[in-house]
Symmetry: C2
Subunit: 225 residues, 2 copies
Amino acid sequence: MSKCEQCIVREFSSLKALNKEELVKLAECKTSRLVKKGEVIFEEGENVNGIFCVKDGVCKLTKLSQNGKDHIVKLVTKGELLGQRSMISEEPVNLSAVALEDMQVCFIPKSEIMGFFDKNNQFSMNVMRTICGDLKESDDHVVNMAQKTVKQRLAETLIYLQDTFGKNEDDSLKIQLTRDELASMIGTATESCIRLLSDFNKLGLIELKAKKITLKNIPQLKKMA
Amino acid sequence: MSKCEQCIVREFSSLKALNKEELVKLAECKTSRLVKKGEVIFEEGENVNGIFCVKDGVCKLTKLSQNGKDHIVKLVTKGELLGQRSMISEEPVNLSAVALEDMQVCFIPKSEIMGFFDKNNQFSMNVMRTICGDLKESDDHVVNMAQKTVKQRLAETLIYLQDTFGKNEDDSLKIQLTRDELASMIGTATESCIRLLSDFNKLGLIELKAKKITLKNIPQLKKMA
DNA sequence: GTATTTATATGACATATATCATATTTTAAG
DNA sequence: CTTAAAATATGATATATGTCATATAAATAC
């Protein structure tokens, strides 16, 4: 059982408000788990009863729409927490979480977290701020979906992916999404996504090599987003 | 200066957790205001530094998109609070609030609310749950925008409007939105919205009389949503 | 290494939706 | 009441995007 004190999640998430004593308690009650790429952490409708700390790796949060397609609502990466919303709302989770890479996650049972809410005001405020940030992001997202073209959303998403997850030594996007996943982030058909990537490629905005995507003209991409 | 004890906002919002003493303090520091239809309560980017209680009337929360169109993200009605998110995030407001009808609102300064956060845990939890509910709604909204057709979104929105705001004696929707506003809720061009309403009318799903919209075949509308 | 599956790519076409033009109706202003 | 302005309505057309078919390339299994 590893300690929580030095954990990256503690450093970047709401958990930074916890004191030593609380961290010791946390380390005792948490359970760690390795999640392989493609594995499901939890599924829409499940009762999770706690939160997950993402220690390493990235996962997608998806929601099944009525037409049977999965939509990727958000990507969650190391340092972040998972499942806070449904724990607070005391509802089944609204989204499914699926690993995009091999991951390390810890699970903290609800009872433990609720105790922090009662005793540590700073922690409560941190959680509240995080969720408020998520809400703002989500509202902005709604407007983008409603008002921007697929092309604009693709440009925007490519920039977001580079800004958030960085690039490899060869400058290609570090995070590996299939065309299908990229399409389900921007809310379009896979073929449309592929076609637009191809267009961007021809225009010199990006470069496609095998599965790798490299952004070549970021100012132009930003301008069109 | 009216009391807060019997206020509808207190009854339905997070404020229900406040005790008598806190309500007295609230009544002392709040300011009341009448807002005429069309008037702006606050505008995107403003610093609000407090929250609004909607005592009567309905307003729209809008965000200006890059193409210059306003998108209606949410409608807020009597009994609800306004501006919680930005107060907690300590950011300018992300959305503009504009009255759709004559309204009565009260303003409570941030300092007062922050005091409740510190001392009244139930209040904090209520606020947190409200925002979590908003987040779920917003995420669902993103998926709808991304995956549903305009027709589906219109059907869904009409049902939402009736369920949320009710109908007049003649069965027409109580809330009065212009076609332009309806279009900006579902994320489409005004003409497209008008055309689809016209289609729905011809199909007997709804009835259009002057500006009034009456839902005629709700099961069918639900099925297509 | 070959076979099989899966992902990517592209063409042809259908459909949904936006845009522009214009008419009609309703609301507001004088 | 009359006129002007705004909202609603509808047609014609352009454009974006989805769908289906098929080809090629890459990944995985055997």
